[in-house]
């Protein structure tokens, strides 16, 4: 995930939390299920944001193996066919 994608994700989360806050103030009984949903989203938002940031930190620590990484591993594996050369 790029920094731009993370920023977009943060905007989505904050947007959902803001919207949930405004929904909680609604008084129309027909909207109660949506108000409850909004409360749930507001409660989830901080956790989701933390998860997203943790995932980004993990990705920075260890990105997906590149093609050259895969090729290097394949060479090591191929060497097992002739152990005397190791």
């Amino acid at each position: 995930m790029t920094p731009d994608q993370l920023a977009a994700l943060k905007l989505e989360v904050n947007g959902a939390a803001d919207l949930a806050g405004s929904l909680i103030g609604a008084i129309d009984p027909a909207l109660i299920p949506f108000v409850l949903l909004g409360k749930g989203a507001a409660a989830l938002a901080p956790d989701l944001l933390n998860d997203a940031e943790n995932i980004v930190a993990n990705l920075k620590a260890g990105a997906d193996p590149s093609q050259s990484d895969n090729d290097a591993l394949a060479v090591k594996i191929a060497a097992f066919e002739r152990p005397e050369t190791i």
């Binding site: 994700l9 989505e12 909004g38 997203a52 591993l73 594996i77 097992f80 190791i86």
Partner: protein
């Protein structure tokens, strides 16, 4: 108001989908690291055994019995290493399939294969150490 609610629901759904998607690469990296660790362990053990054999046979005072033992042990170790090579190649193909399309790959088989690789690599190290202690 309803459209805002729908947007909120959609936002949460998209968030979950994004989190699931971004979780895949780190798992691929973890699988790759575990596989590499097992491969490097067996490579190290094989190299150690080869060095040991070369050193022993280079000594002018080694007995014919020692030569025979080393040759026998070499057959055992090499068979284990070749067998490990076949297993790790299978696991590597499963991992690459997972990296390409995680939805259709067999993650259970991949995890079981990795666990077996880890155990096999330890066994090879133990066997090499055992043979080195036996042939003195």
């Amino acid at each position: 108001m309803k459209s805002k609610v729908h947007r909120a629901i959609l936002g949460v759904v998209i968030l979950n989908a994004l989190l699931l998607l971004t979780a895949c690469p780190s798992l691929n990296r973890n699988l790759f690291n575990t596989e590499t660790l097992a491969v490097d362990t067996v490579t190290g053990a094989t190299h150690l055994f080869n060095q040991y054999e070369a050193t022993l046979l280079a000594q002018t005072n080694h007995t014919s019995q020692q030569s025979a033992e080393v040759a026998q042990n070499k057959t055992v170790v090499y068979n284990m290493v070749r067998s490990f090579g076949v297993s790790v190649k299978t696991v590597d193909l499963l991992r690459l399939a997972y990296a390409t399309n995680s939805a259709t790959s067999n993650l259970t088989a991949l995890q079981a294969g990795l666990a077996a690789l880890s155990a096999n690599s330890s066994n090879i190290v133990f066997t090499v150490q055992y043979f080195m202690q036996q042939t003195k």
